[in-house]
Symmetry: C2
Subunit: 114 residues, 2 copies
């Protein structure tokens, strides 16, 4: 199943994954394997447009914890989602302790700009 993710920084929505593997694996199995791969620090998940779940490969994570705090970019034209390897500085918020920060950027990707 990991083959499907290739080597790029591209992400795959669970839906696309289910479509692609439907002949080989059951929907339930796919959800369960993805859960486990995330627990083990192999993949990280996040929510894209419309709250749909996406997965992408981790670079420096382990079962001990996830480090992937990079933003994700979703093209509003073609729908593609990529991990963006930059860091977004989150300002200190008074009276609150921030544990997780999710940044979803939406716009036009390279292919769709031409």
């Amino acid at each position: 199943m990991l083959n499907e993710f290739g080597e790029s920084a591209g992400a795959i929505s669970v839906i696309a994954l289910i479509e692609r593997l439907d002949s080989r694996f059951n929907k339930t199995t796919i959800y369960r394997v993805l859960d486990k791969l995330e627990e083990d620090g192999v993949l990280h998940s996040f929510l894209g447009k419309n709250g749909l779940k996406w997965y992408a490969k981790c670079t420096d994570c382990s079962a001990a914890g996830h480090q992937d705090t990079h933003p994700h970019f979703q093209c509003l034209n073609c729908g593609k989602v990529d991990c963006i390897p930059v860091s977004v500085p989150i300002p200190k918020i008074p009276d609150r302790e921030v544990a997780v920060s999710q940044v979803l950027l939406q716009g036009t990707c390279e292919n769709c700009m031409a």
Copy 2:
């Protein structure tokens, strides 16, 4: 319906709104009114934990467009969501044109830290 939002920077999930108004309005009506209020620049919407939809009052928006690019903070303990009036600088992303940026912070709120 707008009364439910009070004067604070607090947000309300559609679900909570439906529960609260169930005796007075139908679910479908609530979704439709919220849509319209967002179009008119009165409320802005965003996705919280688990991809659920939340609404909060706008401060400087109009039907011409939304300006609310502030982050939203959701407490992982009590579930409360607030608009945070700070600006999160989004770095330029090469080869991509960012139109919308959504920042969701999760952690512990003031009340739940004590």
